[in-house]
Point group: C2
Chain length 216, copies 2
DNA sequence: TATCATTCTAGGGATTTTCCCTAATAAAAT
DNA sequence: ATTTTATTAGGGAAAATCCCTAGAATGATA
C-alpha cells in the first residue's frame, strides 16, 4: 500500500513539527517535505510532486492564497488543504476560487485535519463544519456570481494598508516610503475602493486575514 | 523513575495536540492536564499540582502574563515555562518579574522546548537564545531597577486601547462604549502614559503581545 | 500603431480627528 | 480623614484625513 505523500507549509516550526508528528503517526500518511513560506512551498511541491499540500494561509513572503493560485497553475493535480486560525469567510471564498480542496481551522480537533486529508485525497473537498454554513449563507455565493476579484492590490497599495493596520499614520508611512502624504492617501483610497471597505477597522481585519499582523 | 508531570495551556487545539505528542514522546515527561485559557490553566494546576506548566502567553480570557502572576501566588512551587510567537522583549521582562522560569519561542526547534522543560525542572531558568542578549542589552535591566509595573491598566483603559489597535477611531469607540469622545481620549492618554508609549504603532504592538488581535 | 486602462505620483481646500490642558465626582486606599 | 485613583468630560489648538482633481509612465488592447 502506498502512503499519501504530503508536503507541509507552515511558518512556525513548533506548530509544523506538531502537525508532522500527527500526520506521521497515521499508517497511511507521510510528510515528505516542508516549507516555512509560500515560495518555498511551491518549489517543494514542484520538486516532490506530493499528493497533498497542507498549507497555512498566513505565511510570510507569499501568503497561502497567492501560493494556492500559483500552485494550481503549475501543479493542478496537487490538492491543497489550507489551515487557518480564522473563522472569517471572506478569505474562504477566495481560496475556493483559487482551487483549494479543503479548509481546516487550527482550532479544530487534530482528528479533523486527518479526516480532511483522507477526504480530499479521494478527490472530494472538505470544509470545516464551522464554516460550511457561512458558505451557504448567501453572501459568499453572491460574490461568486458577481465574479469579483478582490485582493488584487498593487504592491504599493498593500504596503500602505499593511502599515496602516500596524498603526502607522499616513505621515509616518510617507516618511518610510519616501513619498508624499498625498500619495499615501491615494494608495489607501484606491486600495479601499478595490476591497470595498470603508474604515480602519476593515483594514485591520483584512490585514489579520492576510497574516500581516503575525509576530513583528 | 517518576515522570515530569506537565500541564499544557494553549488555546489552539491543533498546536496543543502537537506539543502534547512531542512531550509524551519523551520517556521522562508526561502531559497530565490541558487548558485552553488562562483561568482554566490555573484551575488545572490547582487540581493537579504538576511540576511544570507550559503556557502560551497569548490566550483568551486571562493572558499568560496575568495567569503567571496569579499562579505564582497560589502555587509558587509550580514552574512556569512560557511559550510565545514573539521576539519582543517588553513582555519578557514582565514575565520574569511575574515569576516565569523560562521563555521559549514557537519559532524555535521543538527540541529547544524539551531542553527548556528539562532545564527548568532542575530549578534553573531557561531563556531562548534569541532573547538572552535582549535581556542583557541594558534597556530591560534599567526598568527592573526602576521597579515599574507596566500593564496595570484599568478595564476601561484596556478596552479603549484594544479598540484603537483594532482600528476603531475615538469617535467609534465613544459610541460603542456610550461615553464622550473626550473620555475615550482621556483613557487613551492615561493608558499610554502608564505603558510609556507614544504612538498608535506602539498600541498595536502592545495589543498583539496581549493576544488581543488573535482571530476575530 | 493608436488608444485606453492602470499605476504611481501629488496638490488644494474642507472636514474630521486627535492632542494638550484643565477639572469634577466617586470610589478606594492609606 | 486625607490622599490617590478611576471615570467622566469641556475648550481650543494642532494635526491628520478626506474628497476632488490630475500628470507622467507603463502595459494592454483594438
Amino acid at each position: 500500500m502506498e502512503k499519501l505523500r504530503i508536503v507541509l507549509a507552515e511558518d512556525h516550526l513548533t506548530v509544523r513539527e506538531g502537525i508532522k508528528l500527527l500526520v506521521n503517526s497515521q499508517p497511511d500518511m507521510e510528510v515528505i517535505g516542508e516549507a516555512d513560506n509560500g515560495s518555498a512551498a511551491i518549489k517543494e511541491v514542484q520538486k516532490l510532486a506530493p499528493d497533498i499540500i497542507v498549507m497555512d494561509i498566513s505565511m510570510p513572503e507569499l501568503n497561502g492564497l497567492k501560493a494556492t493560485r500559483r500552485l494550481k497553475q503549475v501543479c493542478p493535480n496537487v490538492k491543497v488543504l489550507t489551515l487557518t486560525r480564522h473563522t472569517d469567510d471572506a478569505y474562504l471564498q477566495q481560496l475556493i476560487e483559487a482551487g483549494a480542496s479543503g479548509y481546516v481551522l487550527k482550532q479544530s480537533a487534530p482528528t479533523e485535519l486527518i479526516r480532511a486529508i483522507r477526504i480530499i485525497s479521494e478527490g472530494n473537498s472538505y470544509l470545516d463544519p464551522a464554516l460550511t454554513n457561512k458558505l451557504f449563507g448567501g453572501y459568499a455565493s453572491r460574490s461568486v456570481l458577481r465574479g469579483e476579484r478582490k485582493g488584487d492590490l498593487t504592491d504599493r497599495e498593500a504596503e500602505v494598508l499593511r502599515m496602516i493596520a500596524w498603526g502607522y499614520s499616513n505621515k509616518e508611512i510617507a516618511a518610510k516610503m519616501n513619498i508624499s502624504v498625498k500619495t499615501v492617501e491615494a494608495h489607501k483610497a484606491n486600495a479601499m475602493r478595490k476591497l470595498d471597505i470603508r474604515s480602519r477597522i476593515d483594514i485591520v481585519r483584512y490585514a489579520i486575514l492576510q497574516g500581516w499582523l503575525q509576530d513583528n
